[in-house]
């Protein structure tokens, strides 16, 4: 079941985007660059689709249902976002928000970011995962700082300093984890490998495991945007180019949550170590509650949805903390569907803010009246994110709530308050964004044909929620078993 580690088709998944990044950097032509990005992400997605047939693990890479699932998802989001961003960036270029050099940097960084994300997802080695995540963070920081506005610079600074500290703490956790596994696995790569760690966890030093857990939780929790470690997220989402927000909301959170899941699995395998559930649940619950209440005062559309991402990420973390196959399954489903839906939201919000020439709520109203296609897409995406049928977040939220009811019923009211307060505001914002009298349009109109990626996401989200094929269900279940 071991893989040869390099030059394998698995390596193509992160490899193709990274090579594509190099290519774009060399080509120095933004228009061709955009097509290269699409081609690279498409090829990466195609390679990712083959992952389910290549289950196995090596020193550096690990393809199990969990990582394969999230890698396919990330590659898919990367592809659709690349399609959307070609048009988006062209418009930014036309309006002068970005110059040609920055556009080229954008394409390069986008692919770098995506490649390292995929690498982080597929890595079996804690160190590799860490390096990949770090590299992805840096490229994301640079992308966020691309627009030359004061706010963008501020946002990328906050992003960098917080994630930098977070990732540093995670590295410390990784060192301690290695130290904890030393007696069980001896020196060498084994003590840094998820698969080996999980197997050898009962023989690891419990107290060191605890220490490692704390540091990695804080480190990766920062990346997952868990309150109170989340401050970078609203700003980064609000100020960076919108297509990046779509990928940020989806993939970074997923990578961080995946690492937390794996960490949880290691911790849970050791009887002497502390129960990893409560701290994760507390952070998750805090995120749900605080983000929900914070939705109310927002004036900026993208920052608003960033808070919604924090809420959803918190919900997933909460479910991961609950533990058990059922809850982990729910968390996985939630992550998957949320990624799809939130990407659809950002894709349509991006188009809407370009159309209206601003991203304040006061600037974007009455979308359905002025641009029916865009307005309806946006409305559907918000409905999906708010957890209403026929979209999948509805299903995953039900699963999470009923798992909570089964395991810790006294937490249900808190969770429900968070969901209610958040969902209420989301839908109230649906009213102001999509309904009422439209504000004046300043940008290009967007028709149905340009919105197909968003609808593809929404349809997939609906299918996953209400008519999940048995094979995918079995596959997700296998993934959940890996992680719990």
């Amino acid at each position: 079941m071991t893989l040869p580690d390099w030059f394998d088709t698995v390596t193509l998944v992160p490899g193709i985007p990274l090579v594509g990044a190099l290519l774009v950097a060399i080509l120095r032509d933004s228009r061709i660059g955009a097509w290269v990005v699409i081609a690279a992400t498409a090829a990466g997605f195609a390679a990712a689709l083959r992952l389910p047939g290549q289950l196995g693990s090596g020193l550096f890479l690990l393809v199990d249902p969990l990582s394969a699932h999230l890698a396919i998802l990330t590659a898919f989001i990367g592809l659709t976002t690349a399609v959307i961003s070609r048009r988006f960036i062209a418009h930014e270029l036309a309006t002068g928000a970005l110059d040609a050099g920055r556009v080229q940097s954008y394409h390069t960084l986008f692919l770098t970011f995506l490649g390292f994300m995929l690498l982080a997802l597929l890595s079996n080695n804690l160190g590799v995962a860490w390096v990949a995540l770090e590299a992805a963070t840096i490229s994301a920081v640079l992308v966020v700082g691309l627009p030359r506005t004061d706010e963008a610079v501020e946002a990328s600074w906050k992003f960098f300093i917080l994630c930098g500290v977070g990732i540093a703490l995670a590295l410390f956790g990784t060192v301690v984890m290695y130290l904890a596994a030393l007696p069980a696995l001896g020196p060498g790569y084994g003590a840094m490998t998820w698969t080996e760690l999980t197997l050898a966890a009962p023989n690891c030093r419990a107290t060191l495991l605890n220490l490692a857990f704390v540091f990695m939780l804080v480190g990766y929790g920062t990346k997952a945007g868990l309150v109170p470690l989340h401050s970078w997220m609203p700003d980064a989402h609000a100020e960076g180019p919108t297509p990046v927000s779509a990928v940020l909301a989806g993939s970074v959170l997923n990578v961080a949550l995946l690492l937390i899941m794996r960490l949880r699995a290691v911790m849970a395998a050791n009887a002497q170590a502390i129960d990893p559930g409560p701290p994760i649940m507390v952070l998750g619950l805090l995120s749900v509650l605080l983000a929900a209440f914070s939705l109310w005062g927002r004036r900026d559309v993208k920052r608003f949805f960033a808070f919604s991402s924090i809420e959803q990420s918190g919900l997933a973390a909460f479910a991961i903390g609950l533990g058990g196959v059922g809850a982990t399954f729910a968390a996985l489903l939630h992550m998957t569907v949320h990624t799809l839906c939130k990407a659809a939201v950002y894709q349509s919000v991006g188009a809407a803010s370009q159309r209206k020439g601003g991203q304040k709520f006061t600037e974007i109203t009455g979308m359905i009246a002025s641009d029916p296609a865009l307005g309806i897409t946006l409305a559907a995406a918000i409905i999906a994110v708010a957890g209403l049928p026929p979209f999948g977040l509805f299903a995953s939220e039900i699963l999470i709530l009923s798992e909570t009811m089964r395991q810790t019923p006294w937490l249900v009211p808190l969770l429900a308050i968070g969901l209610l307060v958040g969902g209420w505001k989301l839908l109230a914002r649906l009213i102001t964004l999509c309904l009422g009298a439209p504000t004046q349009a300043r940008g290009p109109a967007v028709g149905w044909t340009l919105l197909w990626p968003a609808w593809l996401h929404l349809v997939l989200a609906a299918i996953l929620g209400f008519a999940m094929p048995a094979t995918i269900a079995a596959w997700l279940l296998a993934a959940a078993k890996v992680a719990s």
Binding site: K158, I161, L162, V165, G166, L169, T207, N210, L211, V214, V218, G221, V227, P228, L229, S231, I274, L283, L290, A291, F293, S294, G297, F307, L333, I368, A386, L388, P389, A395, I398, L399, L401, S402, T404, M405, R406, P409, V412, A416, L419, L420, V421, G423, W424, L427, A428, I431, T432, L435, G436, A437, G465, F466, A467, M468, P469, A470, A473, L476
Partner: protein, 673 residues
């Protein structure tokens, strides 16, 4: 052959549901009118199928669909209870679809969402597992939300939509929590029934059911979204929401409490139902007298009627707990009969309100009047429905209210002194509510249809178009039949009653009337009708024989108001009693304390030429005591969290350090333990 037909009932209904769902995207291809037509045909077909099943009584049947939560399948089932409610939904849906062809609003948005709305209600009713139930319920909320905000350019509609969707989210969450509590051993209804919850869990479920689906049905204290939302939607949708959706919410309540929470509950379970129901009835009826928008008035009356139904459910529950089957059957029969009757006449009333809105150009009482002259069919239908609203014999509203009073009388035997006193107060409150409803009905009819037109729009009003006219006439026929043959309608609820309270009304309901016990005197609408017609004939005969025939028309004498302007052939219309003036005595006596109604008069001093003004304000007690404080708390918390989110970088790092150190301390402490 008939077995074949009956076994095809559930698949047939499922097909209807699927086709209605499919109509949502198809609308954009085939256009609004065709969608309404197909929705009408589908609903009518479904109603026929459902009626066949109800008469044939082939219950329960179930089928499994390969859709649902994460690879699991969904079970749909048809039993007596769902069939009764389904009949209402489908008939009301058919009437609304037909009437919507006459809609002057936004036909595309309405057309796309209306079939989906009906399908979602059907799913809620047919669901036999937790997921389908919740999915149907939420889809129903979503579809109705879309319908509520179709006239979204209006700020008040947006506000109503905001409130509505928030309360919908609330009730959905309560439902999910209740269902999750019920389903530790499996999500199917069968599994839930096999393992009924223990008492504390059941009690939480009861509370959640009353707060969640209860709020969706319009029960006090979470009712305030209802008048705003029902008034905002296009009229056919309001009809469907008031007539059918509130009943679907009641169905969910019934399903959870009577069926899934176990076959036996303590008698006190009925008490919260009775109390909330009585409060809703009085508050709703009182508000119906105060409001000045015809659809808001009707929506408030819906709150009242839902309250009455809930009282019936409460008595049935208490009687079931105390093991008094005859009373349980009577109360449940009353509740179900009122469900059907109210569903019918409220649908009709809203359709007529729509005709008024489009025909006279306004829904405000102060801009209507005298419509009976130019809108004879609408007026006739409205009168018919208003008689039910007022609970006058032999209309559809009376039979169920009669049964309800009888069950309140019987409820005295269910408990100790406290319960008896409660029953006694309940009787008084219900009488108050029905009398208030009668006053509201008189006010509505008197101001809208009678007198002189109060605006040019009302003076130039035109009758509804043919589809709406047909919808109203057919609906009116149905309501008349329900009123005259309550026994027959009750016999349709036989299976439902026996499922829910293990007894039926079949020995007490017949073609000619209903009785409280077999062999006892009862209520015979046909006899009452005969008596009324006979008396009228007698009077007619006498008058023809004895009195001077015909009459002489003359201008109205109005205590000497100004000469009529050109466009007001009947004098200044504002010199007649209007909605606010009609409500004045009740506003002063009851509204002041219950609805915080305040009047302020701006009287110009002598010599000033401006007009005097009377302004009236009222606020629902729920708003005062629940929503405003909760809103304040929410705002406070949002302010608090905002401060957390927008800290300077340094303080954010401090937070991070605090989390890290906190967790380190946590493990240090846990390790010591």
């Amino acid at each position: 052959m008939s077995d074949l037909v009956l076994s095809a009932a559930l698949p047939g209904l499922t097909c209807v549901m699927a086709m209605l769902t499919a109509a949502v995207p198809v609308t954009f291809a085939i256009g609004a009118r065709l969608t309404f037509a197909s929705s009408f045909v589908l609903c009518a077909a479904g109603a026929v199928i459902d009626l066949t099943a109800l008469i044939g009584g082939a219950f329960p049947a179930s089928i499994t669909l390969p859709l649902g939560l994460a690879g699991q399948s969904t079970v749909l089932s048809l039993d007596g209870v769902s069939a009764v409610f389904l009949l209402l939904v489908l008939l009301s849906g058919a009437a609304a679809s037909l009437a919507a062809r006459d809609d002057h609003g936004h036909p595309m948005a309405t057309a796309a969402a209306l079939p989906g709305f009906i399908a979602a209600m059907m799913l809620t009713l047919l669901a036999a597992d937790a997921f389908a139930l919740v999915a149907g319920f939420e889809a129903m909320s979503l579809a109705s939300f879309i319908l509520v905000v179709t006239n979204h350019r209006d700020d008040s509609v947006q506000a109503a939509g905001r409130l509505y969707i928030g309360m919908a989210a609330w009730s959905g969450l309560c439902l999910i929590a209740a269902v999750a509590l019920l389903a530790p051993h499996g999500a199917g209804f069968a599994a839930m029934r096999a393992a009924p919850p223990e008492i504390w869990r059941a009690s939480v479920i009861l509370a959640l059911a009353l707060l969640g689906p209860g709020s969706k049905a319009g029960l006090v204290p979470l009712h305030i979204w209802l008048p705003a939302a029902h008034a905002s939607a296009p009229a056919p949708v309001s009809a469907l929401m008031s007539g059918a959706m509130t009943k679907v919410a009641l169905y969910v309540l019934i399903r959870l409490v009577f069926d899934l929470a176990g076959p036996a509950q303590p008698s006190w379970w009925g008490v919260p139902f009775i109390m909330l129901g009585a409060m809703s009835a009085v508050l709703g009826a009182l508000r119906a007298n105060m409001e000045t928008d015809i659809k808001t008035i009707l929506a408030c009356s819906t709150i009242e009627n839902v309250g009455l139904i809930t009282v019936g459910l409460g008595i049935a529950l208490a009687a079931r707990g105390a093991d008094v089957p005859p009373l349980a059957g009577l109360a449940m029969g009353a509740a179900l009969l009122h469900v059907l009757a109210h569903g019918g006449f409220k649908t009709l009333m809203f359709l007529a309100a729509g005709a008024v809105q489009y025909g006279a150009g306004s829904r405000a009482l102060q801009r209507l009047g005298g419509l009976i002259h130019r809108m004879p069919i609408t007026a006739g239908v409205m009168l018919l429905a208003a008689a039910s609203l007022a609970g006058l014999p032999p209309s559809a509203g009376f039979a169920s209210e009669w049964m309800l009073f009888q069950s309140v009388l019987g409820a005295v035997r269910l408990g100790g002194l406290a319960f008896q006193v409660m029953a006694c107060v309940l009787a008084a409150l219900m009488a108050l509510a029905t009398a208030l409803a009668a006053a509201a009905a008189v006010r509505l009819i008197g101001v809208v249809l009678l007198g002189r037109p109060r605006s040019p729009g009302a003076a130039e009003a035109h009758e509804a178009g043919p589809p709406l006219r047909w919808a109203m006439l057919l609906g009116g026929l149905g309501v008349v039949l329900v009123g005259l043959f309550p026994g027959i309608v009750l016999s349709l609820t036989r299976a439902a009653t026996s499922t829910l309270v293990h007894t039926t009304m079949s020995d007490r309901a017949g073609l000619f009337g209903i009785t409280t016990a077999s062999e006892a005197p009862g209520y015979a609408p046909l006899f009452i009708l005969a008596l009324l017609v006979g008396a009228a004939l007698l009077i007619g005969t006498i008058m023809r024989a004895r009195a001077v025939q015909g009459h002489r028309a003359a201008p109205l004498w109005g205590c000497g108001f100004d000469a009529s302007p050109e466009w007001q052939p009947h004098g200044d219309p504002l010199a007649q009693y209007g909605g606010s003036s009609f409500a004045q005595p009740l506003r002063r006596v009851l509204g002041h304390s219950l609805l915080a109604a305040r009047e302020s008069v701006d009287m110009p001093s002598p010599g000033e030429t401006r007009a005097a003004q009377l302004s009236i304000s009222l606020q629902d007690p729920t708003q005062t005591f629940l929503f405003s404080p909760v809103g304040t708390v929410r705002e406070f918390l949002s302010g608090l969290t905002d401060r957390l989110h927008f800290l300077p970088v340094r303080q954010v790092l401090t937070l991070m350090a605090a989390v890290l150190i906190g967790l380190l301390l946590y493990i240090a402490v846990v390790e010591q333990l």
